[in-house]
């Protein structure tokens, strides 16, 4: 198999299912290392297959809960602060703490922080390189 000729859909599906003989799988891997299109196809197939498996859907749900643990905790403690009036302030503080952690841990905020940092670095760099 030449590296430039992409394998058929059948071969790719057999590779991802792990039923190909070792030598053919090696050839496919050699092709995948050089072909971005097939690599993307394999990667997408893997993620769709993972999502569509009903048994794996539960583990995905678990992962989602783990990812948003702080948000869920914040909502629960906010609710609890209204139920248990005696500990209103304590629950409110916990809500604030968990809420801030959730906000700072989110991807959007992290990208903003990295953008801010790079801009700050660029500014200092241009200031240092000024001729006058």
């Amino acid at each position: 198999m030449k590296n430039r000729i992409c394998p058929t859909e059948n071969l790719l599906s057999e590779y991802i299912s792990g039923v190909l003989p070792f030598k053919t799988a090696l050839l496919i891997e050699r092709h995948l290392a050089s072909c971005a299109k097939c690599r993307l196809l394999i990667s997408e197939t893997h993620s769709v297959a993972k999502q569509s498996d009903p048994l794996k859907a539960l583990s995905l749900l678990r992962a989602c809960i783990c990812r948003n643990f702080c948000l869920i905790g914040a909502v629960f403690s906010l609710g609890a602060s209204f139920i248990f009036h005696k500990y209103f302030m304590q629950f409110l503080i916990v809500t604030l703490l968990l809420g801030t952690k959730w906000i700072t841990a989110s991807k959007a905020v992290q990208t903003f922080i990295t953008i801010y940092k790079t801009q700050k670095n660029e500014n200092t760099h241009t200031k240092n390189n000024r001729p006058f």
């Binding site: 790719l12 299912s17 971005a36 690599r39 893997h46 999502q51």
Partner: protein, 219 residues
């Protein structure tokens, strides 16, 4: 006998079909039995719809529900028309084969309909879809448009990096590309390549060390 689990979301029932049943269903479909084809469509409709949605989301295209349904029907039509089920040699690969076929057909469908071009001619004042409220396209592009030096440097760096990666052993290359270019986790790479997670980590570690050796003259 190995069973496969299917969920019928209309009736919310979980049911299993033995591999033998799927094999007979497939042979009936190849022999152009319309009832068998109807049940085949019923079983795999959701999987194909999911693949179509995944591809459209990847391409950043927003299609209406009916348009998405059109693509799903197009996929089934093409499979039926050319009797492509004949190509399947191993029954256990059926689902993966269907996903690959639907991803390819969706991508071709988008190209044919020139949605890709429409996406490229978007107004600069439009909001970017992942951060709708604040960032417009012109604000984001501005940094790259007017900073030619850094963009040229980035391009040069990309060429150097790709040359360095091509010098690695092909398995290291593949693992490295899955990890950095396709944003796959160790576990996912291990699942795709059917190797232990530790081997993936070792391959990436070795690849990084080799890359350091190759790129030493630039550091």
């Amino acid at each position: 006998m190995k069973n496969q689990i299917y969920v019928d979301f209309k009736s919310m029932k979980l049911y299993t079909i033995s591999v033998m049943d799927i094999q007979t269903l497939l042979t009936e479909c190849i022999n152009r039995n319309q009832n068998a084809w109807a049940s085949f469509v019923n079983i795999h409709n959701r999987l194909i719809a999911k693949s179509v949605n995944h591809k459209l989301n990847q391409l950043g295209l927003k299609f209406t529900k009916s348009e998405r349904q059109d693509i799903v029907q197009e996929i089934f039509f093409r499979i039926w028309e050319k009797n492509r089920l004949k190509d399947i040699q191993n029954i256990s690969c059926l689902e993966n084969w269907l996903i690959i076929i639907s991803l390819n057909i969706t991508s071709n469908y988008c190209k044919e309909k020139t949605y890709r071009n429409a996406r490229n001619t978007v107004s600069l004042d439009n909001a970017i879809h992942f951060n709708r409220k604040q960032n417009t396209l012109i604000k984001t592009l501005a940094a790259d448009l007017f900073n030619t030096e850094s963009s040229l440097n980035a391009r040069e760096l990309r060429v150097i990096m790709s040359q360095a990666i091509s010098k690695l052993e092909h398995r290291q290359q593949l693992v490295l590309k899955f990890y950095f270019y396709n944003n796959k986790k160790y576990k996912e790479i291990a699942e795709i390549m059917r190797i232990p997670k530790g081997t993936v980590a070792t391959l990436i570690n070795r690849a990084q060390k080799n890359m350091k050796k190759i790129l030493r003259k630039y550091i």
